[in-house]
Assembly symmetry: C2
């Protein structure tokens, strides 16, 4: 079976909303904002998010329990993600660095285990916050 190409109604609504934000959104904040579009229950949002994360349109920022649209157009599956997170203003940026992704994609630990997926979150202060 092939990976589905188009999104369902709820998936479109959620993705649309998350893409318009320039920052990670919490699931319940998404819920409140798409209620006018007919999504009434948390599960409707979580199910859409699950699918969107699965196909790589959305990434979850694990340390923040928040969801952000993928900025990496060729990201078909969320198997290699890296983010920069400012601990001052909470701005999150997806890192798109081919050296980094090559390095981590090929990483093997001492046990010889090879990984199919990784998520990396960097923390620090962005320029603005550093100069405060």
């Amino acid at each position: 079976m092939q990976k589905q190409q188009h999104l369902s109604k709820n998936q479109k609504i959620v993705l649309d909303h998350v893409e318009k934000a320039n920052q990670p959104l919490k699931a319940y904040s998404i819920l409140y904002n798409v209620q006018k579009k007919g999504l009434k229950a948390p599960l409707q949002v979580y199910r859409a998010l699950d699918k969107l994360v699965e196909i790589g349109k959305i990434h979850k920022i694990e340390s923040r329990n928040a969801f952000v649209a993928c900025k990496n157009s060729n990201c078909v599956v969320s198997n290699a993600t890296a983010f920069s997170i400012c601990e001052g203003c909470e701005k999150v940026t997806e890192i798109n660095n081919s050296k980094l992704s090559k390095y981590l994609g090929n990483f093997e630990d001492s046990s010889g285990m090879k990984y199919s997926k990784y998520n990396l979150e960097f923390f620090g202060l962005c320029k603005k916050c550093k100069n405060k």
Copy 2:
């Protein structure tokens, strides 16, 4: 002021319990298990965990909302963590690889932002689970 050297009663109880487990534990599972030692409320566990994470004795596995004792004896602060997570049996191993930590510790993104902290989680199947 100097970083405190010894742990409080609750902190010791929680750390002790987490160290004895060879796997990440959930906060409420810790709670149930330390109730005989007098910790009755979630906050008592979360506060101890917060402190222990802060001083590097315990790490949080963000993708699992679980807590594991640090295996890296020289880890004074949790500013550079990497884990291997088996998606089959959920076994989690802390990765202690100096090349990796050097690479990530020196990583700078295109904006020139430098990071004070990172957390990396690798996912895959361990040998046992791969051979099933």
